[in-house]
Symmetry: C2
């Protein structure tokens, strides 16, 4: 659908660019023939690179669990489709992935209380330095990490949020405990960057992988913002969708 060129000598290693391209080529089927990747020599010719370089790319993909090479037989594809995550007014993690994965799991990675800085305070309508609850939650679908989210809540309004969350393992249920029976997403903004730091291991990504970054504001039906969040999605495993009629 787009170009064939690979850019050399500048920041991103050839093998990594090729790995990205192969991952895409597997997804849209252009580089795969019945469950098998095209041979290394073919790929090398297509990308205008040395076979060794292609091998490095394949080794990285093997590390990620995308493919598995077998001597004398070829390189077999292990995982293919991308999960769709819908961005809408009623965005909820687990219900969002229903039908796409058999098993959907949320794990609390970290919970603590920090002080609100200016930008948080303004959006949430609290004072500068007021307590702010921060939760880090890992989302998995069928044993594969698909998201890593940080959520922020007003620490005074939601006292002991962590303990309620620990019991229910659901943000929606915990909010209900505080009298919020319904909420909607005021805004989501999306951008992308390289994954870095601890999220690499949390999401099981190879260094240099790209993550989608979705920042969201949730509000009650009377338009009071009560939650901010920043969620990272591995760009090769997840696509975000915006549909005509948000449920």
């Amino acid at each position: 659908m787009r170009e064939n060129t690979i850019e050399r000598g500048s920041g991103v290693a050839l093998w990594r660019q090729i790995a990205d391209r192969i991952r895409l080529g597997i997804a849209d089927g252009s580089l795969a023939v019945d469950g098998k990747l095209l041979p290394e020599t073919r790929l090398a010719a297509m990308f205008g690179a040395n076979r060794h370089t292609v091998r490095s790319a394949i080794a990285a993909l093997e590390q990620e669990g995308v493919v598995q090479a077998k001597q004398g037989r070829g390189t077999f594809i292990r995982r293919t489709r991308r999960i769709s995550y819908a961005l809408g007014s009623r965005t909820r993690f687990s219900s969002n992935l229903e039908g796409q994965a058999k098993e959907v799991l949320s794990t609390l990675l970290k919970a603590d209380t920090i002080k609100a800085d200016a930008s948080f305070a303004e959006v949430l309508g609290i004072s500068l330095g007021a307590p702010l609850i921060r939760l880090d939650i890992l989302g998995q679908a069928d044993g594969q990490s698909v998201s890593c989210a940080t959520h922020w809540f007003d620490g005074e309004r939601f006292k002991d949020f962590e303990s309620h969350y620990a019991q229910t393992r659901s943000i929606t249920a915990t909010l209900r405990h505080y009298g919020i029976s319904d909420y909607v997403r005021r805004q989501t903004s999306v951008t992308a960057r390289h994954a870095e730091g601890e999220v690499l291991s949390q999401l099981g990504l190879a260094p240099g992988a790209i993550v989608l970054v979705a920042k969201a504001i949730n509000e009650t039906p009377d338009s009071i913002a009560f939650q901010l969040s920043e969620t990272l999605f591995p760009a090769d495993r997840v696509e975000l969708t915006v549909n005509r009629y948000p449920k």
Copy 2:
């Protein structure tokens, strides 16, 4: 807001990772003090890297036009905020950027007719191999490239689309000529990857830059899909937003 770590030996050169981080740091203000970037030694300490490496990163950003280093004075920031592009039912390029840029420009890069493959044919309800009009359009705001879109239309329904577009320079106006006075976006899916090939020069990006990829389906009010598009946005210049009430 997130980690400080930089990953070495991993496909993406340190200087490029640092350049990406500095670009972000400029956008959110965390690495800039009144129009100036923090000194190289400070940055080197923050990233746990050598000053030479930070200098390489800054040189790349200078090449991109993001900053300008002046001997003895510091490194000055030339461009800063990210443009917000709203994804909604009524997504139109130029009206979308109103208020964010003084000058919004669309340039036709290429127009041709190809044959529909299976996936295009199915969504557009045309037959396999039927003519498909393809337009490549560059979007600029205040002299800066912000998007590079490929649009596909049914070649039989929209005969001579290119020439009408050339006159009006507007897809909305051209569609009106074919009796489509209104249309909405059925779906947008978003993912991200490294920019590659000719879009690098079209968008004025450094190799290795990340682009958001938005694939969209537009339909008439009676739910007939008539247009597919794939738009690339430089992730460091644009954020995509989804709002509560799509206009």
